[in-house]
Symmetry: D2
Subunit: 311 residues, 4 copies
């Protein structure tokens, strides 16, 4: 299980204010992520990646490393210089024997699209061949690593028209492609007998996030109608800023303006009221103008009761 964070705002933030300076940053989450569902691998020390965009309509930049985020000098120095209004960040714990390699670090990009995943596709090995055969040649050959997450991205890309050549996408289009990706994975997992409601059931945790540099679509999803998905929270306000010198940050809420939206596996501030849990099996859209929409994913795992009662 890994951790991710995404940030979108009207004006650029210094990456340090998001990634390295907050006492409860995603970097610190590398050490201590209490909300994880899976306790077998408690440390996100198997690499990390950050992606950011400088201007809409251009490809983002990615920096990845197989060294733990918390001791990476390059990350610390870059974070003090780079500003961006759209940031993805991910820390990784290897699962399922997947190698620690830069090619297995999130996020990935393809054209202007950027993708990351927190969770895992249960029984991925049993649908990997099926998934590969569904990809067109260009997307098939673009895969550099061995993770289920990168393969899910490849599947997502194959749901879009001309994913490499275009500068931007409507958020509706990304929304639909995301739903189709999850539906297709479920169909194959069912066929492969991975998800068998009556008997054993290997769970998939599908917290995906994708952006074209303008809109963001992400999900909190699990292949179960009873269990909660891996945690995912969001917060919005006028500015994400330090409260004190000690690394304590707050989401300021001046004049009810919504200039910043943050989605993260775990709250980044100690102020609980800043954060809303995204309900399980829900898709979240951040529009280019920073409106946030939540949509239930109404498939066979949809459970209105869970939606209303759990986090």
């Amino acid at each position: 299980m890994c951790r991710f964070l995404l940030y979108k705002s009207n004006s650029p933030i210094l990456l340090a204010d998001l990634l390295t300076r907050p006492a409860h940053s995603i970097i610190m989450q590398s050490f201590n992520d209490k909300l994880r569902l899976d306790n077998r691998q408690p440390v996100n020390g198997d690499g990390f990646g950050i992606g950011w965009f400088d201007e809409p309509g251009t490809q983002g930049c990615i920096f990845t490393s197989t060294l733990p985020a918390w001791s990476n000098l390059n990350l610390q120095r870059l974070a003090e210089k780079v500003k961006s209004a759209l940031v993805f960040a991910h820390v990784r714990a290897t699962t399922g024997g997947t190698a620690t390699a830069e090619s297995n670090c999130h996020p990935w990009q393809y054209g202007n699209l950027m993708w990351m995943h927190n969770g895992n596709i249960g029984g991925f090995r049993r649908i990997k061949r099926r998934l590969l055969s569904a990809l067109n040649e260009e997307i098939f050959l673009s895969i550099q690593g061995t993770t289920d997450s990168e393969h899910a991205f490849a599947l997502f890309l194959s749901m879009l028209e001309n994913p490499k050549g275009r500068a931007d996408f409507s958020y509706q289009e990304l929304h639909q492609a995301m739903l189709r990706t999850i539906a297709q994975l479920n169909e194959w997992l069912d066929e492969a007998g991975v998800t068998d409601e009556d008997g054993d059931h290997e769970l998939s945790l599908l917290n995906f996030a994708v952006t074209d540099g303008q809109s963001v679509v992400c999900t909190r999803y699990i292949t179960s109608s009873e269990l909660p998905a891996a945690s995912l929270f969001y917060s919005s306000g006028s500015e994400f800023r330090p409260e004190t010198d000690s690394g304590s940050y707050r989401m300021a809420k001046a004049n009810k303006r919504e200039d910043v939206v943050v989605v993260a596996s775990e709250p980044l501030t100690y102020e609980k009221s800043d954060w809303l849990a995204i309900p399980t099996n829900v898709l979240l859209v951040i529009t280019p103008k920073l409106n946030v929409h939540l949509y239930p994913i109404r498939d066979k795992y949809w459970n209105p009761h869970r939606f209303h009662t759990t986090s």
Copy 2:
């Protein structure tokens, strides 16, 4: 283009005497490999790997690194301690955009089998999907990296019965599987239009080496009936040992005994008479008792004239 070395003997050699102490070792070849065919990437600084067996019938051990071999302290320290009678070593230069990652470092192993490759499969991208679909599920899922070389190993494995469960193989069996691997690659390359004798022709350089810990089979091969393959030499004698303190090594030849066989992309000693060039498109077998056999690979690229005249 990379470089490899394999060593088999009746009694163990200290790895340092093979890998780090010789003035003209494969480590130094990382810097300066004058016999390479391809000059676009003149430095084998993109990682290396060594594999060795301690006793027949057990799995070998592999040490790989994405750091250049020449400055790797762990390699230098291990080489001063580890002894083995069967050693594979490989230094790597990335080609074709393949990532520098440990999962892309040679050699690979599967059960007791160990594999490395010097060269590349021309037009590999055009047959990759075909190759994957020919693999059984277990071998398909064992692939960890993205290189053509590892995929060729997977194809080789699929030519064997029960490649994982067996302790050893006859050298005839490895020999046949190697020929079938090359034949199968050629068939697919032809079908994909990669190798078109009349028009453009993307060459494959297939210097493969495989061992089960007892026999060794390797090839010097090119998909051309005119051009020479990537260089490959062998030497045999009673002992590979230092001549002086200055790093100069010799293949000693006491009593005409054949206790050591070395195959390498480039001679390891300055004494030219120690080394024989393996002819192009020839397969070499080292039997468990250290007999060496050369077999022409008589397919459409076989050229008796080249066999008799070139190195």
Copy 3:
């Protein structure tokens, strides 16, 4: 704060049985080390090192990495092959801004001597220059990194006669040099005002371990007469071996023979009775014949009450 382990026995153990297979191995301690005194940096993910000897009277071999131990393929493969009767192992968490670099990974060696440290020298920066000026030229120039631990080793070396040229040392000699090292550090820390009994007091945690390949001397020590030092346990018996297939290990105690001694920052087995806490401010000697002696370190921090009541 880091973690270490040392193992000495009459017959070699496969490193995997010590380092990677035990459910509660030092590798797993990288994730979850509950007994640590210092909670600021809860993860030992900043590199590791192992050192081992194959035969008495020769230099040991060291393998270090800045990648976390738990995902290091080379470590896992080597551990399945290497056997040794004298092993040092260390996992590291960076402290005090020290860089993650191979040159800062424990253990270090000098001639036949090998050294590691769990803890830190409080206020090291204030005595660093003093320490360097006390070293002879050869030892001064041998320092490759920036850690307090390596500098403490250099100081220890300067307490011995001809530390590089000799094959072995008596354990009495190592014992005395260790005491003099701690005494010298204390003297300088006092002079620099770091250790001020009346006012602020920056603590040093000096769990040191040293071996010449035959004897082992280690300490559990703190510059305080009240507080406990960083934890350190030992266990002895006839064999350290797996109890079940699930990774559970035990210290077997057949015939009251003492063929194995293990000292570790944290117990390696779940059987509490296997392990004795080494009292605070005590030096432990393992003789070449595997006798274990404990000696109180009777300086100004010695506290008989703590010795008798605490772990």
Copy 4:
């Protein structure tokens, strides 16, 4: 021997246009640096570093890696995004047993000052202790690695008043501190008997470069009155830009404006007339307004004849 490059201009350049896209970039120089004086270590594959400033009066940013520059994905991606009007870049070949570690990668920074070095201090080990003892405590403790180059930077810093606290320096001040650094090194090397005109003479190659983000001072220097120093060239013009799509770059010279100055160990373009060799034992200043001044370093190694005849 290593290689360096520095770039200063009136308007920012995309790092890719300086570092990764030119056919003869410093990255390619990692492979093939024909002008090197020392042939023992022909490959600059032991790490690299780049430093750049975004605005005058702020600290620069540094990105270093121990992996070879030519296969570093992060470098390639960053170079496509980052723009700067003042860039330092360095590729490294380890010498004298210095470890490959990030802390040993150039450039280094201290406050707003940035430093790199091509060459080596001959006999550095014999003056290291002397040098350390001349540093004040803060500079002494700031040293993170073991290279002669970083120690020379520390010495340079100790020639300045308040090197950490100030935003900028006059170029005259940097100029004087550089001369005093070289003079001090020479004095110590003489005292230590390293430089003995009559007998053996261990050479120092001191191509240093320093900047405060506004001015640049660099040297081409050798401790010999006869031999040439390590090569150093400069070029100036109106723009450094691609001529063709094939990676060929030129220094454009529109209207005789001097908007760009580049200093590099080897010419970056194939047009020889673009480049002037900086004479041996000369100091070059680039003022904030891009004026370039050359000053002979008139010490005992000054040789007017060499100045007028050699490159």
